[in-house]
Amino acid sequence: MKTESALSALNARNLSKRYGGAAGIQAAQNVSLSVAAGETVALLGPSGCGKSTMLRMIAGLEVPDSGTVKVGGRDVTALPPEARHIGLVFQDYALFPHLSVLDNVAYGPRVRGMPRPQAWAQAQDTLELVNLTEFGDRRVTELSGGQAQRVALARALATASPLLLLDEPLSNLDERLRAELRGELRALFARVGAGVLLVTHDQREALALAGRVAVMRAGQIVQQGAARDVFERPATAWVAAFLGQANLWPQPGGMCLLVPEQALTLGEGEAYAVIARQPDDSGETVQVAHPRGTLTLALSARESLHIVEGRLRVQVDEGLIQAVPDDREAANTLI
Amino acid sequence: QTTLTVISHDSFEVDKALVATFEKANSTRVRFVKAGDAGELLNRLILTRRAPLADVVYGLDNSLLPRAREAGVLDAYRSAALKTVPAAYRMDEANGTTLLNTVDYGFVAFNYDRAWFQKAGLALPKTLDDLKSPTYAKLTVVPSPATSSPGLAFLLASVNQYGEAGAWNWWRTARAGGMKVTRGWSDAYYKEFTRNGGKFPIVLSYASSPAAEVFYAEGFNAAKLPEQSPTGNLFLPGSTFLQLEGVGVLKGAKQPALARKFVDFMLSGGVQTDIPTRMWIYPAAAGTKLNPVFKFAQQPAPTAVKPALLARPQRLIDGWVTNVLRR
């Protein structure tokens, strides 16, 4: 445990935050999270569940009602933001309107005492990473949405902090650029060994970047674990549904059967009637009337060929069906 | 309905009821315009002589009259009521044309803080020469001749006493000895005088000031006057100046007839009786009854100032500025 804390980039314990007094909103409640050095953890959860609040508490911008924050093994709960050495990308960017793009990015190194030419060089390198090499002289008010978001990302990266908190850092970028940046970020994180806590609504992004995933719901963490585990074995029906599992069959007794993708084999087994088809960019989504419940399947163009005369042969591997508690209605409080 | 405009210095005040009677009697309205102290008042009249601001002016005094005459801001009018004023207090008797009718008179004089001198156990100065010695100079505050009418009055008195060169010498010595020169009378009296929180127990003010001090003292009771005023007059020979304030009709007045009526009104018994405790000066009309507190305001025997000095006071002020102030 001692070595773990030494290598831990972030260790947040029991953080709680209520906005606006006793009658206010409980934005976070006893949330514990840790990120090891060199590790990327994705923080997922529906809109308004408290993700940004967590990041702001960890960064020291919001005073938690209770709980402690350790960064690099050091208790920073009482320290101001600047003493925490954390790089933060704000969801709304918060770029400095009075500085050029380059000066925005160089700001972190500058205030930490780096001489100007060196800070500019470092900022220029970071701008290159986000494909904005030639934008250094621009005013930040003259950027497109995606460009501004990349400047915000570059500004946080340029601090070379051992812990990065990224709040939807790529949400306003097109998919190709996002894929490219994902690759570069992964390489960068691996190289510098920074711990990263990433808020994203893009599950592909979470999987591509994060080794571990934490799922929040209404101010609490409902599941945490290796990315693959969480996606493959959601702890509850709510988590499964949130992560995009379409096939949840409610059972009596507050339980629910989860039929994961891997449990389904196409072109084998019985042929069931297809009751709905909806095309999308990677193929189509079809609904199949299985005797135990409706099955929703995302088919690629190739797989669509299996549908013959309005029927699709699907084999459900009963061994892979998981029974999970059905908590989808509970805690659906105002968030 | 006509409107009569009266311009005056800032200290002018008269009973509203009296004004109302005047208005009623002449079915007119009276507007009062204040234009700074007497010196400023004259300058303003000179500046606006082509389009006069008012019909009648109150508050010009004998030290300003020659300039007013030269600038031609006044029309001649001699009120019949002037006969109630003793000849010594009338202006323009020698010229034959009366521009200003004396309404009141006062004496510019040094005052001292009785309590301070008692406590310090210091004797009072006896002469102006005493006053310029460091012992007393550092106890004295004087409003500036360049920017206040009591200051100018004292400058005239001092030049009258010593001649120009001697006066410059007196002023320079006194200033070197610690005499303070303030801009206006209020500064000298309310800021620098020991009675009011300053550190100078001798101040150039008016001979009537000790009476006012009694009148405005806490718990004043006309029936039970105190033994003496907290301040006293310091009539050093050659230091006092008789100031005669008058009222006259402005050249170019829109209501000349009413203006003359107002001149008469100022010399009428009602106003004359009202004057002393409002403006702290003596009414010019002989035999006007005085409030008993005026027993604290002694009248000095003033030295007559040479008419030549009064003719060009501005030249003396310039001389004072260059020879005293900016040395």
Binding site: E82, F96 | D10, G36, T48, E192
Partner: protein, 501 residues
């Protein structure tokens, strides 16, 4: 503007011609240097003390914050003579503080500088606070998470973003201190008099207009240069004053705020308290007879009524004209905008003494009429409204206005539903400052024409023109009344929220 400013000024200059030879006199060059020096010094101290305090107050809540911000307007209401009374009661040769500390600063320029600060720290703090309150909190958060300490973030982010408000404070303080003449007249003595005092002496007492005109021209060049520098230097600004609740200050910050607030209070409130104290303290000890006399007299209520009536009239004028002026300067683009911006300071750039003379010469018939008087005070209050409102308008995020238009709001509706509510705090603040100016100055420098038009400040000046202790205590009681009236007016102006900025 031409009618109200240029013409009278031109008439003053034309009356006697301009004798520039006076500038060869080292005496007047000395006055020029001193005028500039004391004004710059005052403005610098005001920024150095008021800037940080305004910043902290815009970020943190401490007990007493709202009251402090509101009372801050009081010195502005105070007639110069009352301020002098208060200051000398404390720091004069026999002042309470002087006697306590045995330290007499009444002979040097110290009292004058303190007097300047007494009036102007509040201006600085309020305008700077308005600027800082608009800085989006997330920008500070971003700076700090990037490693900037609290002060560094203030210096590198909040300051540049709030610069227009800060600079407005600086230039106003500079202009007030450079052109004020009441204070140097009474506190400066002969040694520390300023150019404006010399102009006053030359015109009012010596009637040497050519020389005075030369000084006026020189002074106009000085203030013009300052204004030009201000207009070209202030750019940017971002954000709106979102009425969000401020977090309570952490202990150290709270201590700093309290120390600064205490210092400012000492300079700006203590003299007022001294005046209040003087209204009940006589040589014979505690006495309320002055109050009895003042409150018992029907005249007093006429004074209060007039003060309010004229004040409100001038306030309406100042808010209307100043508001329109700010809108025009905001709407206009490029150089036009800058010229309009600078023009709004014109009433503060020209010497009030020469203006007064100009009025006499240009409009002899009007010079002592009520409309002229109200016009003049409108003109004095206007720059304060413009200076508060313009930075707020310029900081409005353009997208917010665009959003309103795409939602179907026409120009006027946008103004009514978005622009106005978002800049209301600034407008209120400007209006409060303007009202303060008017309440305190009304009828004191320009001369009222009828006894029944007398205001509190004329009543007060009348009493200070007569000898006798009672006059002094009654003047102090009237001053206290004026202050109470002002507190009431400000409370109404800011809707009781204590948040006028």
């Amino acid at each position: 503007m031409a009618l109200l400013l240029a013409l009278p000024l031109g008439r003053t200059l034309a009356e006697g011609g301009v004798n520039l030879g006076i500038w060869r006199d080292p005496y007047f060059l000395g006055r020029l240097v001193w005028t500039l020096g004391q004004a710059l010094g005052t403005a610098a101290v005001a920024v150095a003390v008021g800037g940080p305090l305004a910043y902290l107050l815009s970020r943190w809540n401490v007990p007493g914050r709202a009251a402090f911000l509101r009372f801050l307007l009081l010195p502005f209401v105070t007639p110069t003579l009352v301020a002098v009374l208060g200051l000398t009661a404390l720091l004069g040769p026999q002042g309470w503080i002087t006697r306590l500390t045995k330290l007499d600063i009444s002979d040097g320029p110290g009292l004058l500088l303190l007097g300047n600060l007494f009036f102007n720290l509040p201006v600085m703090i309020r305008l700077a606070h308005a600027g800082f309150a608009r800085v989006p909190p997330n920008l500070i958060g971003a700076a700090r998470s990037l490693g900037a300490t609290g002060w560094k973030a203030a210096w590198t982010v909040a300051l540049p973003v709030a610069l227009p408000g800060l600079a407005a404070g600086f230039v106003l303080v500079f202009l007030y201190s450079a052109l004020s003449f009441g204070l140097p007249l009474t506190l400066g003595g002969e040694r520390y008099s300023t150019l404006e005092v010399e102009i006053y002496t030359l015109t009012a007492y010596q009637l040497r207009l050519p020389e005075a005109s030369a000084l006026i021209v020189g002074q106009l060049l000085l203030t013009g240069a300052a204004t030009w520098a201000y207009v070209t230097l202030t750019r940017g600004g971002a954000g709106v004053t979102a009425g969000r609740a401020l977090p309570p200050a952490p202990p150290l910050t709270r201590a700093i705020i309290w120390v600064l607030m205490g210092g400012v209070s000492l300079i700006s409130f203590a003299p007022l308290l001294a005046v209040v104290a003087r209204s009940v303290l006589t040589s014979g000890g505690l006495s309320f007879s002055a109050w009895q006399a003042v409150l018992g007299s029907a005249d007093t209520w006429a004074l209060v009524g007039n003060t309010l009536r004229f004040g409100v009239l001038a306030l309406i004028g100042a808010v209307l004209l100043g508001g329109l002026h700010a809108l025009a300067a905001w709407r206009a683009r490029g150089p036009t905008s800058r010229v309009l911006d600078g023009l709004s300071l014109l009433p503060l750039m020209v010497s009030p003494v020469s203006l007064a003379v100009g009025y006499l010469l240009a409009y002899p018939a009007l010079s002592a009429t009520l409309p002229m008087l109200i016009g003049a005070y409108t003109l004095l209050g206007m720059p304060l409204v413009t200076r508060s409102l313009l930075p707020a308008l310029r900081a409005l995020p353009p997208r917010t206005l665009e959003a309103a238009r795409t939602l179907g709001a026409g120009g006027w509706t946008v103004w009514r539903t978005v622009t106005f509510p978002l800049t209301l705090p600034a407008l209120r603040g400007g209006a409060a400052l303007a009202l303060a100016t008017v309440l305190g100055e009304f009828g004191a420098t320009l001369v009222l024409t009828r006894p029944e038009w007398a205001t509190l400040s004329t009543g007060l000046y009348d009493r200070l023109g007569r000898p006798g202790e009672r006059n002094l205590t009654e003047a102090c009681a009237l001053a206290t009344l004026l202050l109470l009236l002002a507190v009431l007016a400000f409370t109404l102006l800011d809707g009781g929220e204590g948040e006028v900025t």
